[in-house]
């Protein structure tokens, strides 16, 4: 931790970061298609969307004509087409996860409801895009594409109907009340299905032309659940339902629809086969949903982070102008110029908001990029499985296990000093696209739920802090930047597309993947390396926190509680969910540091003389966030490691399990910090009040060492916060917000 050397950098942030900084950090400096999408989306967000919010458009639950006008803006600006392939009417070739994340970021900067509304069509199309037959994909994607010049047609809008009224509401894929049965099946003809489905909280239902609906089988002639495509003109009932009385995201159309329709079996997403007189859907509904949510959840996480970052400018302006106009604040005085920014606490808290926003955005965009790389590899994996004739869950898992071993071998070889023979093997494994798939897949399975969980959950809390920095103004409709609404909106983002518990549950499974754990070990080395080249980013502290998390995970995996019950197992959510929470902090802070490193290494040609100060500021934000993450991880791990040991009764037997103060002091050299836990005061009656730590420290001396190491790694973190705070008091901001209020 070489922070003292940082004093040599007096330069700091000069202006709020612009597009050039963001393109570098979020790695789309070479993608002009994405840069144009950002500009285009920003024009809609800070134009018609912002005007509608400022004029009170959020004050109604109904899908009004004014809200409906936004759809045309989304079409004209390319937001609708961002999901399409060029041959379908889109303009971005290849995977589009980063593109959609950037669009969501820009819209949510002003209003996350608009972001949800604009992107919900993609959610409706995603089942078809990810798992639909080629015919289904071609048909519905082209219908949903905006009209080309000279074409006279309105694009079809899609909705995704999964969630159902209580008791079935939610994304628990095991519970579905929606049913599909065979209505008619004439010899030699395609079966006709009857679909009965009630939806709850379905986005886009106010105007959707078709719906992809999850239904379970209610007929022995249909083997499993599936997703079916329902069109508004299908025979039967296509009732859009009552608008949901949401307190948030009012610029998206949400209602509780009712469907009772007859549709041809060709509407089963992904198609079907007929075996022994039974319709066998090629994908059951949980397979489709997994493929869909795996990607769309990332954009939701990005939305909350956008709001945190959008709060910075209005808060600075409010803080600086807080006393202007008062008799006691004469122009030119410190009170006039700095306002509330005279006070350290106001600046420190704003630094924390900014740091959390950066971390979330970095994590979200890193995950989106990861999926962009993973998507084509996944197709290659599927092709390889097909080419090798591997099918069925058991055979596929066996095949993937072999791939996992190769991935582990690669990580092991990379971790140790090596000779020529090993180098050749490393090169061979690195060139293997399937090994690459296995490694990225293991990452994606963690980073996606981590983004959704951490960005929205922690983001909602931090957004509250941002609102509080505006005083009473923060909770009025007049608040610049709509911060109060953004805070409320964040709660929905933490809930829809799988609430926090669902993300924690998914993480508790995926974080146990040996390939992920091995990669995390590699990230510890990576961060140590970064901290050498970029001291003051907090990389060292974060590496220590990762080590502690890994140690804790391994320890808990083989530990039991005081009653002998295993700690790491599915029902033990008190353990696994907390580890998942801690993991979110780590992943976000790591992504943030890696982005800051890119800015530091590649930013000079773009930023010129402002580069050093800008890079320094972003490194300071990293340091602040890494310290916070390390603190959270340390607290959570300590609770888990110690918390399942029974507190001894303070009798002879219990005392025998503890050290005396003199023992503890003697052990201090071996287990740093131990003596600090002890006291040897003798209470009235001769019984010591406390002697040493109550918990048995057997087998956890490494934990104590790692925990103490983290404490030491916090060195310089508050200095970084001071520097960042000073930068916020001096940074130049625009004269006014670039969207209405």
């Amino acid at each position: 931790m070489a922070t003292p050397a940082l004093k040599a950098h007096p330069d700091t942030l000069r202006t709020l970061p612009g597009d050039d900084v963001r393109q570098l950090m979020w790695r789309f400096a070479e993608r002009y298609d994405l840069q144009m999408l950002v500009q285009s989306t920003r024009g809609v967000a800070r134009g018609p969307v912002a005007r509608l919010v400022a004029e009170g458009g959020r004050n109604e639950h109904e899908w009004t004509a004014r809200k409906n006008e936004l759809l045309a803006h989304y079409d004209a600006s390319g937001i609708t087409a961002a999901f399409m392939e060029p041959e379908e009417g889109g303009f971005i070739a290849g995977p589009k996860n980063l593109a959609l994340a950037l669009a969501a970021f820009e819209l949510a900067w002003v209003d996350a409801g608009a972001a949800t509304g604009a992107l919900a069509g993609f959610l409706g199309l995603s089942p078809i895009h990810e798992r639909g037959t080629p015919e289904q994909a071609r048909h519905y994607m082209s219908l949903a594409a905006p009209a080309r010049p000279g074409e006279d047609r309105r694009p079809w809008r899609a909705a995704f109907a999964l969630t159902e009224p209580i008791p079935y509401v939610g994304v628990d894929t095991g519970m579905l009340s929606g049913k599909v049965s065979v209505a008619e099946w004439k010899d030699g003809e395609e079966p006709v299905l009857r679909v009965e489905k009630r939806g709850r909280f379905i986005t886009n239902m106010g105007f959707a032309n078709f719906v992809t609906a999850a239904v379970d089988t209610a007929d022995p002639r249909i083997k499993s659940s599936c997703l079916v495509i329902l069109e508004e003109t299908d025979p039967g009932t296509f009732d859009r339902g009552t608008p949901t009385k949401k307190l948030v995201h009012q610029l998206s159309s949400t209602s509780d629809p009712i469907f009772s329709l007859r549709v041809p079996a060709s509407r089963i997403v992904g198609g079907y086969t007929v075996k022994d007189g039974v319709i066998v859907p090629n994908f059951d509904h949980s397979e489709v949903i997994e493929a869909v949510f795996r990607r769309t959840r990332v954009t939701v996480g990005v939305m909350t982070s956008a709001k945190l970052l959008s709060a910075i400018e209005p808060v600075i302006r409010y803080q600086r102008g807080r006393f202007r106009g008062a008799e006691q604040a004469a122009p030119g005085s410190v009170r006039y110029e700095l306002g509330i920014q005279q006070r350290e606490d106001a600046l420190h808290r704003l630094v924390e908001v900014w740091a959390a926003g950066e971390a979330g955005a970095s994590l979200g965009f890193a995950t989106a990029r990861l999926f962009d790389e993973l998507d084509p590899l996944e197709k290659k994996k599927d092709a390889a499985l097909a080419a090798q004739g591997v099918s069925g869950m058991k055979a596929t898992l066996k095949w993937l296990k072999a791939l996992e071993q190769k991935g582990l071998e690669l990580l092991e070889l990379e971790a140790h000093p090596r000779g020529e023979k090993q180098e050749a093997r490393i090169a061979e494994l690195r060139a293997d696209e399937l090994v690459r798939f296995a490694l990225l897949d293991a990452q994606a399975n963690v980073l996606c739920p981590a983004t959704k969980l951490w960005n929205t959950g922690v983001g909602a809390s931090v957004m509250r802090e941002a609102v509080s920095l505006m005083g009473g103004y923060g909770i009025t409709e007049d608040c610049p930047g709509f911060l109060g609404q953004k805070w409320m909106d964040a709660q929905l983002e933490a809930t829809y597309e799988g609430p926090e518990a669902v993300q924690r549950r998914q993480l508790s499974v995926t974080m146990a993947n040996p390939l992920f754990l091995a990669q995390m070990k590699a990230w510890v080395r990576e961060l140590r390396h970064v901290s050498g080249a970029h001291a003051g980013t907090g990389a060292c502290a974060l590496a220590s926190a990762m080590e502690l998390w890994l140690w804790t995970y391994r320890h808990l995996e083989r530990s039991t509680d005081a009653d002998g019950a295993r700690l790491v197992q599915s029902p033990r959510q008190g353990v696994t969910f907390k580890l998942a929470d801690a993991l979110g902090w780590l992943m976000a802070a790591r992504s943030q540091i890696l982005d800051a490193v890119v800015l530091a290494e590649d930013g000079a040609p773009v930023l010129g003389e402002a580069h050093a100060g800008t890079a320094r500021f972003f490194a300071d934000l990293c340091h602040v966030q890494a310290a916070r993450a390390a603190g959270e991880v340390g607290r959570i791990c300590a609770e888990l490691v110690h918390g399942y040991n029974r507190h001894p009764s303070w009798d002879a037997e219990g005392r025998a399990a503890c050290w005396s103060a003199s023992d503890a002091e003697a052990l201090e050299g071996i287990i740093p910090g131990l003596a600090g836990c002890s006291a040897d005061e003798i209470a009235e009656g001769g019984l010591p009040d406390k002697e040493g730590p109550c918990a048995s420290c057997q087998g956890i001396s490494d934990f104590r060492t790692l925990r103490v190491k983290i404490d030491g790694c916090l060195t310089g973190a508050m200095l970084a916060k001071d520097r960042a705070a000073e930068a916020l008091s001096k940074v130049m901001i625009p004269e006014a917000l670039d969207y209405p209020q």
Partner: protein, 270 residues
């Protein structure tokens, strides 16, 4: 024989007007504080000219629009990501300073050289468009100087409308004093037209246009020739932005007619 106009629009970037624009002395001479860190936009006057050019080209088959822009390459690239989606054009970029303190003669010389060197330039079809003013420089002389260097005698400033006529002629609506327009008829190209606001709104972004434009814009930016224009030897002793003056008066019990009368008197003071 090809028909239609060759419309060359001269225009560069300026800091976004919402930003705090504070004059400062830099190692390169006078400039704005943190100028290169500020987000930029296409100079609004030049933007009007570009949109009018695209509109004219769309109405006149065989026409082509070329935007010649002298500015910092990195900023030009950022601005093109938005402007490039609005109307079809080809970009010719020159990498140099675009601030309000560069010498218009030096800038005009580089721009004129560049226009002359445009492949396939046909003076008989050339319309040179630009802003009659600039958001970074109020003098609005650069376009006129380029016209002089290209020996184009027909120059119109403060243009709000151009209507093509018979045989290559066109009618021009120019702003004159008192909120009035002067109507001129020009026999044909070549001509210089310095646009006021024109009559068109800002076109919406269209990514399909953007993708088509970018095939030329990105290579043009990559091969942008250096154009290190300076201040022409002028020494600036001090610079300041105009102070906004606000005189607030609270009046009660004043009739709307009296308010209107007072406003008319106030306007008449100038």
């Amino acid at each position: 024989m090809s028909t239609g106009y060759q419309i060359v629009v001269l225009g560069s970037v300026v800091p976004d007007p919402l930003q705090t624009l504070e004059p400062a002395q830099t190692p390169q001479g006078p400039g704005l504080k943190n100028e290169l860190m500020l987000p930029h936009v296409l100079d609004p006057w030049a933007a009007h000219a570009l949109y009018e050019a695209a509109n004219l080209a769309a109405r006149t088959p065989g026409s082509k629009v070329t935007l010649v822009s002298l500015g910092p390459k990195a900023k030009l690239q950022q601005v093109m990501m938005a402007v490039g989606q609005k109307v079809p054009f080809e970009l010719v970029a020159l990498d140099g300073p675009a601030g309000g303190f560069t010498d218009p003669h030096e800038v005009a010389a580089r721009l004129a050289e560049t226009v002359k060197a445009l492949p396939g330039l046909d003076r008989s079809r050339l319309l040179l468009f630009g802003g009659w003013e600039s958001a970074s420089r109020g003098a609005g002389v650069t376009l006129q100087l380029v016209g002089e260097r290209l020996e184009i005698a027909d120059q119109f400033q403060g243009v709000d409308r151009l209507t093509p006529g018979e045989g290559g002629s066109f009618e021009v609506l120019e702003r004159v004093e008192g909120g009035k327009h002067q109507v001129s008829r020009c026999a044909g190209a070549p001509a210089v037209l310095g646009w006021a606001t024109g009559e068109l709104g800002e076109p919406k972004n269209n990514p399909q246009i953007g993708m088509a434009n970018m095939r030329g814009v990105m290579p043009a930016l990559q091969k942008a020739a250096p154009a290190p224009v300076g201040t022409g030897g002028v020494e600036f002793l001090s610079v300041a932005v105009p102070r906004a003056q606000r005189e607030t008066r609270i009046v009660k019990d004043m009739s709307p007619d009296d308010v209107a009368r007072e406003l008319v008197e106030w306007i008449g003071q100038d």
